[in-house]
């Protein structure tokens, strides 16, 4: 997808003024949060599981080459083919080439954030291949010509009325007078449309929540069963996944799966958890005859061993988005990136460069809730701060901001000067308030007084008052 993180501030202004979006965010913000809390409360070993899952990922990442080779060996043994893609362009080219080899005209897709990351749909469509998203949310996003606004709930920014309108616009085959005001009506209609596509598709493309080195399996979790129809009905199944998805054993996959749904949707387990190992075997009654895995790097191996390595533990559950006050205020699209919210604020600069996404790691109050709920214990605020440090080192912050910061730091390192300046500033601010208790418009501080008054100081600094008090006591 086209990255628009560099117009973050404009995106935010639009998001905050979008009444429908704000309504949609209100509706759902609390749902996931409440459900996760309930699911966690029912699992006393939740925090112990987090430690275990973290250990699994840290171990795997420190031997990633070995586990990727082991995984590839097992996939090959089971009759599949693994393709390594260094960049997004490489991955797109590999998938297109496979589609051509297999003579594909229609491709169905299960939900995959990696395919969003590499902009796969547009690339295939440009070559005349019809691509149909089959996850309901992704399908809606596709017919609207949008991108997902949440990594596990792509249409969290919409209300059901918006979706009914889109269905009427696109599904011309149905009677205009049909009823579409209930969620069930929308689901039934989408099912009718998608069922035909499932049966006609030449290739099914899915992502993977996990890859298992021990067995060469790919794992997807879904709630609609569309992933299974996508991976089993067409002649060929292509998995697009990033390299950090691999775990050593089935047991390890289980540890992570126990955390994934609970953290994301608050379910104990998703409706479907599908393990796919290779193409159809001779004894299998059905299934795809070809099985390919495209493994994407796209900057991830550079993150290994560095400050941002912790981010590679991310299992894309969405908990950090659901609990983020900033995400809750502006929604996902404002981030202008495939990955929004706290995880996106760390991931996006790694993908597109800090110069093109500098607002994302800055637009956080560092409230720490993301880190608190992250099932993989990723220190998201620390990683955002690490991006801020790089941004600062590169001289990216606006000149005025840098000068103010430097001037403040200069004084803060010189207590005598600092107190002298404070003793000038405080009476000035008190005078500006003119006894009203607060300042409605602060010269040089309009960013504050835009949305709130500026409280007036009491009148003198504490240090001055304290010194006066000490003097009078000595007398």
């Amino acid at each position: 997808m086209e990255n628009s993180s560099d117009t973050f501030k404009t995106n935010v202004a639009h998001a905050l003024a979008d009444v429908e979006l704000q309504k949609a965010l209100q509706n759902v913000k609390r749902g996931f949060v409440v459900k996760r809390e309930a699911a966690k409360a029912k699992l006393p070993e939740f925090d112990k599981l987090r430690d275990e899952a973290r250990a699994v990922k840290d171990h795997t990442l420190s031997h990633l080459d070995l586990y990727l080779e082991a995984y590839e060996r097992k996939v090959t043994e089971s009759g599949g083919v693994v393709h390594f893609a260094e960049t997004a362009a490489d991955a797109r080219a590999i998938v297109l080439e496979l589609c051509r080899e297999l003579g594909a005209k229609l491709v169905t897709k299960g939900k995959s954030m990696i395919s969003e990351e590499i902009g796969l749909n547009a690339h295939l469509e440009a070559s005349g291949i019809e691509v149909v998203e089959t996850d309901l949310g992704e399908y809606i996003v596709q017919i609207r010509g949008e991108t997902p606004s949440h990594i596990i709930a792509p249409v969290i920014h919409l209300n059901k009325e918006d979706i009914a309108q889109d269905f009427r616009r696109v599904h011309k085959q149905f009677a205009t007078a049909r009823k579409l005001n209930q969620v069930q009506d929308l689901v039934a209609e989408a099912r009718a449309v998608l069922r035909e596509k499932f049966l006609k598709a030449d290739i099914g493309i899915t992502g993977a929540n996990l890859l298992i080195a021990e067995t060469g399996s790919s794992v997807i979790v879904t709630n609609e069963g569309n992933g299974d129809l996508t991976s089993t009905l067409p002649r060929a199944h292509i998995v697009v996944a990033s390299i950090e998805k691999v775990v050593p054993t089935l047991e390890d996959a289980d540890t992570i799966l126990r955390l994934l749904a609970r953290s994301g949707t608050g379910q104990e387990i998703t409706t479907y958890t599908t393990f796919v190992t290779g193409p159809r075997r001779d004894s299998d009654p059905d299934g795809p005859v070809a099985y390919h895995v495209v493994l994407l790097d796209n900057g991830r191996s550079e993150m290994l061993g560095g400050v941002f390595a912790d981010m590679l533990r991310c299992i894309r559950c969405g908990a950090c988005l659901n609990h983020c006050p900033v995400y809750g205020a502006i929604g996902g699209h404002a981030y202008g990136s495939v990955y929004p919210g706290p995880m996106g604020a760390v991931m996006t600069p790694a993908l597109v460069g800090i110069d093109h996404a500098r607002d994302l790691p800055h637009a956080s109050s560092f409230c720490g809730r993301c880190e608190q709920v992250c099932p993989m214990e990723i220190p998201l605020p620390d990683l955002m701060r690490a991006w801020r440090e790089r941004d600062f080192t590169r001289g990216n912050p606006p000149r005025r901001e840098r000068l103010l910061l430097k001037a403040w730091a200069f004084a803060a390192k010189r207590p005598r000067l600092y107190h002298a300046l404070a003793n000038r500033l405080v009476p000035l601010l008190a005078w500006l308030a003119r006894g009203s208790g607060s300042i409605g418009r602060l010269p040089f501080g309009k960013a504050w007084t835009r949305t709130r008054d500026f409280p007036a100081p009491e009148g003198k600094t504490f240090h001055t008052l304290y010194a006066e008090k000490e003097r009078s006591q000595r007398r």
Binding site: V12, A329, S365, C367, Q372, R385, G437, R452, T461
Partner: protein, 263 residues
């Protein structure tokens, strides 16, 4: 040997980390903190060589300045038995972040660790270290309490302010819905992204208004200036105060951002 000294002469020596916001805007909070610490049996000193904990630099990515300021704070405060701040944010900076900032500094790594281990947020120090269970104060009316993110998540301070408030004569505490959610202040975030900061504050304000309390308390002046600034803008008729002022019975100073004629 003369007779036994007064308890306050042998109590632990506390260095008060005033915090830059309290120094500039709300000296009453520091005076209230001193009163409470002394009531708990501590001796309090206020080193004059203090300015700020360095968070504006640290969170803006200016690590070099953050490191220099951290060293300065370590040097100024390491001689005390304890360091106490009327702020979860500033205490958290010293307790959680200084050891990381100075970890690679051979002269300061151990000293930062030592300082971190004896630094506390005011209410938790009063309750958990000094064992204070009761304050001698009264306040007429119902209040609600806003947990700052750093107190709640960085320092796990939740019960201490509530336990002390429960001992204030005449005070009723009404709990805030979604008390674990940020108010949208976030230091420099509040001026770098004022619209997002304001939108997050809107949600917090709705919850504050829903309590029906006449006063919102918190342990961090940053959150309070942000919340009080909006209460003033909207003439919401609700006061905002630092929790120390109420616990010390020092509420004669007008509330934060409140018109002076209310005095």
């Amino acid at each position: 040997m003369t007779s036994a000294p007064e308890p306050s002469k042998q109590g632990p020596l506390v260095g008060l980390l005033v915090t830059c916001l309290v120094d500039l805007f709300r000296p009453n909070v520091a005076f209230a903190a001193i009163k409470l610490l002394e009531a708990g049996g501590a001796r309090v000193e206020v080193p004059r060589a203090q300015t700020c904990c360095g968070q504006p630099a640290y969170n803006s990515g200016d690590r070099a300045d953050a490191v220099s300021i951290a060293r300065q704070v370590v040097q100024t405060f390491e001689r005390f038995d304890y360091v106490v701040a009327p702020s979860g944010s500033c205490a958290g900076m010293v307790k959680v972040h200084y050891p990381r900032l100075l970890a690679d500094d051979p002269d300061f790594a151990d000293r930062a660790e030592a300082l971190a281990s004896k630094t506390f947020e005011l209410t938790s120090f009063l309750v958990d270290v000094l064992g204070l269970t009761h304050v001698d104060a009264s306040y007429r009316g119902s209040v609600t309490y806003h947990d700052s993110c750093s107190s709640l998540r960085e320092l796990q301070v939740r019960d201490a302010p509530r336990r002390l408030l429960a001992s204030v004569d005449g005070l009723t505490l009404v709990e805030l819905a979604e008390s674990e959610v940020c108010c949208g202040f976030g230091g420099t975030f509040s001026v770098k992204y004022p619209d997002i900061s304001g939108a997050i504050l809107d949600a917090k304000l709705r919850n504050i208004l829903a309590t029906g309390a006449s006063c919102v308390l918190a342990g961090d002046l940053g959150c309070l200036m942000h919340i009080a600034g909006r209460l003033a803008r909207e003439r919401a008729g609700i006061e905002a105060r630092h929790v120390a002022e109420v616990l010390a019975g020092m509420t004669e100073v007008p509330a934060i951002a409140a018109p002076r004629q209310m005095r």
